[in-house]
Symmetry: C2
Subunit: 355 residues, 2 copies
């Protein structure tokens, strides 16, 4: 008898939910169960267009999804300003929570979310796909290799895309009341995540935002960057933007090796992706770069859903407690976003990072 898949409810029909809907269908241990929207017509349309089974529940409020006892887990793609309310309520209703990034408007809000998840014994995970791609595990192997890579010295990360006129005028990510962190919360989330990943999630000591970020009329960040410092000689920089061409790069330099990846946020191709390494062992011989190709059957967002559902399943059958790692990684990322924002708000002063 096949195992019962984890039953997802989706809160809202945001555009971003389409990708996750496909991922739930592709994920072998997950299934669509319900969708809720403030407009029941929108919810119906979303379910019809996104491969929900005919038996799927269509609700006209988010709360109805949370009140359905057969929903195991919710995916929350609501604007960031609504995360606190709905993620906490979901946890209180004993629903496992897969929450879009940025996870909250600030760490204080996120701490309420994570406390609600802990208090109610539900799994938390944020919706960062790329860390679940098998390529990331391969890149981690390289960064951990003391011979081929040595000791990590510096990381540079870029995530930018050029929003068109409609995006820059109407997207929730450029509206002060909705996703208050703008490009920092959206594209910057990935850059900061990439840097922390490379540093094995050791937090930097200080963060200094670059002067001259670009803000829109509502004061929302459209482009910014920052410098991060660990102890002497360990540093990182990033650049995030809604204003320049799609670029998704990590460059990590160790004492003996360099890693470069150009599509880390979402690989150019779903089933085959690559990264490049160079290991220069010795001073004079000139090493050539190696390209490493990683193939996968599942797109990275489906790998994420599968891992989330695996954890939920273990909790449901009583074999495990919630895995605290995912909330911890989200919190560290949010903490750095907060520090960058604080540095911008305080004239680009150096900000001490306190966990």
């Amino acid at each position: 008898m096949a195992e019962t898949p984890i039953r997802f409810g989706i809160l809202s029909c945001a555009g971003i939910a389409r990708k996750l809907s496909r991922a739930i269908i592709l994920s072998p241990n997950s299934t669509h169960y319900a969708v809720g929207s403030r407009s029941i017509d929108k919810a119906k349309k979303f379910a019809a267009e996104n491969g929900f089974p005919p038996s799927a529940k269509i609700y006209g409020t988010y709360e109805d999804v949370l009140d359905d006892p057969d929903v195991d887990a919710v995916y929350v793609p609501l604007p960031t300003s609504m995360h606190l309310q709905w993620a906490v309520l979901a946890a209180e209703k004993k629903k496992h929570v897969l929450l879009e990034k940025p996870v909250a408007l600030n760490v204080a809000e996120f701490d309420q979310i994570i406390q609600a998840c802990e208090a109610n014994g539900v799994q938390f995970m944020d919706g960062t796909h790329w860390v679940h791609h098998p390529r990331t595990a391969k890149m981690t192997e390289f960064l951990s290799d003391t011979h081929r890579f040595g000791e990590l010295k510096t990381v540079h990360s870029i995530f930018s895309f050029a929003g068109d006129d409609d995006f820059l005028k109407n997207d929730i990510r450029v509206k002060p009341g909705l996703d208050g962190l703008g490009a920092l919360g959206d594209a910057g989330w990935y850059c900061v995540g990439a840097i922390l990943w490379a540093f094995d999630y050791e937090l930097p000591k200080t963060v200094t935002a670059f002067c001259g970020p670009v803000l829109n009329e509502g004061g929302v960040i459209l482009e910014c960057g920052s410098y991060l410092q660990w102890e002497e000689g360990k540093t990182a920089t990033f650049h995030c933007s809604f204003l320049s061409n799609l670029t998704m790069a990590i460059t990590a330099l160790g004492t003996t090796g360099t890693l470069q990846v150009h599509d880390f946020v979402g690989p150019y191709e779903e089933k085959s992706s690559s990264f490049t390494t160079v290991s220069q062992i010795g001073f004079t011989a000139r090493a050539l770069p190696s390209q490493h190709v990683v193939t996968t059957d599942l797109p990275q967002e489906a790998s994420m859903v599968t891992e989330f559902s695996r954890l939920v399943k273990s909790i449901k059958d009583g074999s495990s407690k919630p895995e605290a790692k995912w909330g911890s990684l989200s919190r560290k990322t949010q903490l750095i976003l907060d520090a960058v924002k604080a540095s911008i708000d305080n004239g680009f002063e150096l900000v001490q990072v306190e966990a």
Copy 2:
């Protein structure tokens, strides 16, 4: 009848002069004519090992090279702290000057060099090879393409190599009295040059060094980085180091395109090199990267020597005056190095750049 090649004299037998000696041999309009060293034995050995013709003059002082009336041009690979004295003297002796980078310890010194060259009607060029590679011209074409690249937004450049124990102890680049700018003057010269090149040599308005550069016991910079700003939304960052793995990267983001090159300082292969572009015209369709391969018969340092000798030849035969562009580019690069140094020396304060 073949044209008479430009006759080079080399001041000193520094290790770096070996590469240039080969370039002079490969360059069709250049020839070895003399070498001077404070040790005539060293000069003899250098000439024998580096393909000088039997007729080449071997001198036991630098001044003898400058006094030889048949020397057209000198290549000066002396430590930076000696550039002012010897480049000025060379110009005064009417020798055209090919000077290693960094061109001076600061702009004030460099201005004396360039004034001496102008006053004596001799050509000046610094020894930065990569701008003479035909790949660079191809990359310039891409950055100038308003459709494929759009408007330049940001550049990130890295040049690092991991010096071994001997290098970090004994190389002139880590000695306070010799090359006072350390990794900033050496590796940083390339990073700053790459950034200025991408910005078509428009100077930034401000420079802010990153806190926490690594210095050695003598106070010489082994690793540092900086943030540069033009008007709002046009920025650059760089990282230069003697302490991390060989990495030579430029990433330039425009509004519609991205350029990436991973071996800009010196291509992995002499005769064939590449760079990658992505042009994302429109918001939703996903563009794939294109690799552009550029082939060349001459290594880039021989292209540099050939261009230098071409300019010298035109001056010699009276058809042109010295080309001021090369001194101007060197001065801009040196000006930014000075600003980074000033920012480091002043607690990482923002420095206004004044041409």
